[in-house]
């Protein structure tokens, strides 16, 4: 009987929340449009791939060998040749203006040195304002240079001493990329964007939820009703949970059908773990809401949590490259676990047998944070 009464009170609370949320056209818009817009923009923008880097070349050797080297660079999908410079100053000025990122200098005598005992030299100047692009771009130049050198050497041995080819020992590395054969950066980032958006959205909404009633004074009205505090909290958060589930479905569809990220796992695993993650995000938001006096405080506190949470989640940079202290810190970040789940379900297609530790960790977060919030929330005005 008591339970039925509680359910009735929660139902009233739910109706009130849904009415309040969907009456304001701005809020209605906020619930649907930003997640989809952000998914589209982030999905396109979030890539660490380095392709079509503009480069200029100053070829003072101008032999068949040097031209062969340059055409290997410009034929690859990583580099686009923009300018044949005559003087060093042209390279310098172009990099200054930002016309191209790489300048390649080949001195005269390149072809001769290739055959000589010391080996030939190539100078590469790179604009390293963006260090990742510079690093990856340099790596490609080195790889292409090595490949060029190897073919050149083999050609020479084949011409001068054909018997040597069969006996000279060498080891090569054969690559077997799993899960993402084309090294498509988008496949990695799009599932990650889903996690980020879910956290930001659900947490923001709930952070505002309780404190809004407090700020505009309607919390007082609720306090005089017979509703219990866990019923109030449940009534407050359930709508956002449902909205979160709906938005998660929506942007997952965008990820699969618009961006073409393969979905190799099971929908059940994804849905189940998304719900657990949503609960933990609700927990964080609710906790912020109970410790804030007004919406401004709730907003800056939420922001204060989101910034480190997204950066330490492993979304943009791998956790294994962080210093040990920060690696330990990431265990306090619920998004960390969800990132692993999302990427594993999408690309690796693994199930509960592999992912249960991550899901369990998120469940612990949800339980602890929601309990604290309910205990902290008092039906009193102070």
């Amino acid at each position: 009987m008591k339970f039925l009464q509680a359910l009735g009170r929660i139902r009233h609370m739910l109706i009130k929340e849904f009415l309040q949320t969907f009456r304001d056209p701005h809020t209605r818009f906020v619930l649907i449009a930003p997640p989809v817009i952000q998914m589209m923009v982030f999905g396109y923008a979030a890539t660490l791939e380095v392709k079509h880097v503009q480069f200029a070349v100053m070829d003072h050797d101008n032999t068949q060998e040097s031209r062969e080297f340059i055409s290997r660079l410009s034929a690859s999908r990583y580099f686009d040749l923009q300018l044949h410079a005559q003087r060093k100053e042209e390279l310098r000025a172009g990099i200054d203006r930002g016309d191209f990122l790489l300048g390649i200098e080949i001195d005269s005598g390149f072809a001769q040195d290739l055959r000589g005992p010391k080996g030939a030299q190539v100078q590469v100047i790179v604009d390293s304002t963006n260090s990742n692009t510079a690093l990856v771009g340099l790596g490609y130049v080195t790889q292409i240079g090595q490949a060029f050198a190897q073919t050149y050497q083999q050609d020479r041995i084949r011409r001068t001493d054909p018997q040597l080819m069969g006996v000279i020992p060498h080891v090569e590395l054969i690559e077997r990329p799993w899960f993402n054969e084309g090294f498509d950066s988008r496949w990695y980032f799009v599932p990650g964007v889903i996690g980020n958006l879910m956290l930001v959205m659900v947490m923001n909404l709930t952070a505002f939820a309780v404190v809004r009633e407090r700020e505009i004074g309607t919390l007082e009205q609720i306090m005089v009703t017979p509703i219990r505090r866990w019923e109030f909290i449940l009534g407050k958060t359930l709508p956002f949970f449902l909205i979160g589930v709906f938005d998660a479905g929506l942007i997952s569809l965008v990820g699969t059908f618009w961006f073409g990220v393969p979905f190799r796992g099971s929908v059940v695993v994804l849905a189940g773990s998304t719900m657990v993650f949503l609960l933990s995000s609700l927990g964080v938001g609710l906790f912020i809401s109970t410790i804030s006096a007004n919406q401004q405080q709730a907003m800056v506190s939420a922001f204060f949590f989101i910034m480190p949470a997204t950066t330490l989640s492993g979304f943009g940079t791998p956790i294994s490259s962080m210093p040990p202290f920060f690696q330990k810190l990431t265990y306090l970040d619920p998004l960390r676990y969800f990132m692993i789940v999302l990427r594993s379900v999408y690309l690796k297609g693994v199930g509960f047998d592999v992912l249960w530790p991550q899901i369990a960790a998120m469940a612990v977060f949800a339980f602890v944070l929601l309990s604290i919030s309910i205990l902290r929330f008092h039906k009193s005005l102070e």
């Binding site: 809020t27 906020v30 930003p34 982030f42 396109y44 890539t47 660490l48 380095v50 079509h52 055959r115 080996g119 030299q121 190539v122 590469v124 100047i125 260090s131 510079a134 690093l135 790596g139 240079g145 050198a149 050149y152 006996v167 000279i168 020992p169 060498h170 080891v171 090569e172 590395l173 054969i174 690559e175 990329p177 799993w178 899960f179 993402n180 498509d184 950066s185 990695y188 923001n204 505002f208 809004r212 007004n294 919406q295 401004q296 907003m299 800056v300 506190s301 922001f303 204060f304 910034m307 943009g316 940079t317 791998p318 962080m322 920060f326 594993s344 690309l347 690796k348 693994v350 592999v354």
Partner: protein, 377 residues
Amino acid sequence: MSLRRIYAIMRKEFIQISRDVRSLLIIFAIPLILLFIYGYAVNLDVKHIPLCIYDRDGSQDSQDLLKAFQATEYFNIVHLARDYPDVVRQIDTGASAIAIVIPVRFSQDLRQGGGTSVQAILDASDSNSASIGLGYAQGIVAAYSSRVQVDWARHRGAAPPVPPIDIRARTWFNEDLESMANIVPGVVALVMAVVGAFLTSLTIAREWERGTMEQLISTPVQPLEIQIGKLVPYFLIGMSDTALCAVLGVRWFGVPFRGSWPLLFGSSALFLIVVLSLGYWMSVTAKSQLAASQFALVATFLPTFLLSGFLFPIDQMPLVVQFITRILPARYYITILRNIFLKGTPVSLFAGQFVALVIYAFVLVALATRAFHKRLE
């Protein structure tokens, strides 16, 4: 226009802000936390990649190769696999990102002369780390291979083969490839967007929600006076946050500063006027703090975050997205900041960016002023 009334609104706003100590503290803590995390935690240089080894040969030669993997800081050998399913499990759970499989006849093939191969199984779901890791692994194997060749040549009394090409790299502007030099300008812009648009997006909406707008309307204060009085405090907060970031970036993190300080503050003031007006406009339009803050998030924070070059280089984005970035004021500000910090190129080279910001400032101030009406409905 009355200075006295502007001053009154300003004072009210200042008192309101200073009563909320926690918000104020967080606003100054956010740039510190960002700089700290990006300075120490986030590292795009991929290192300590967890590696799994499946040595099916178990010979002296295979051990030599493994030692080469052990010796670099790029890899951490976390697991020695016993069989193939063990390897699969390592990659599936993500415990290892790369597995190196050495074939059974590795040593034998090498001794007989001719080629042999080693397999690298990559968890390529993280394509960036995987391709960088693959590059490292190829380097290690190539070095091992040429060591073997040198030994072999010495054995036969022949001249050792030389690597015929040597790529010498020189990096400009950011010589040590420190990502910090790229991040500090980004953090400055990000903080401006947060302070500017986020906080101001609440100011007018708050008055509506709490019902104090009615009181404000009944006073003789003019719309423009409200706008100026409300925005000046946030302008000052934004400018001091910028100064904090810049000084900390240059003094503590050693980011180069090659331009001039007046230029930095001039362009920051300009950008701040743009984002403040934008936030104010949203606040006036939305009338609810939740909706206004969400608008501000999509309109200012996200573009600034994406364009600051924190993580994602703009020139790698699809052309449509690149075109969209040209519409956003943040892009122009970040270009100016990059120049001031890293390049120190003369102002004439980025005068266009300044003009763009001035135009944005005019348009948005006008929009914000026109949107506000002293009416209850």
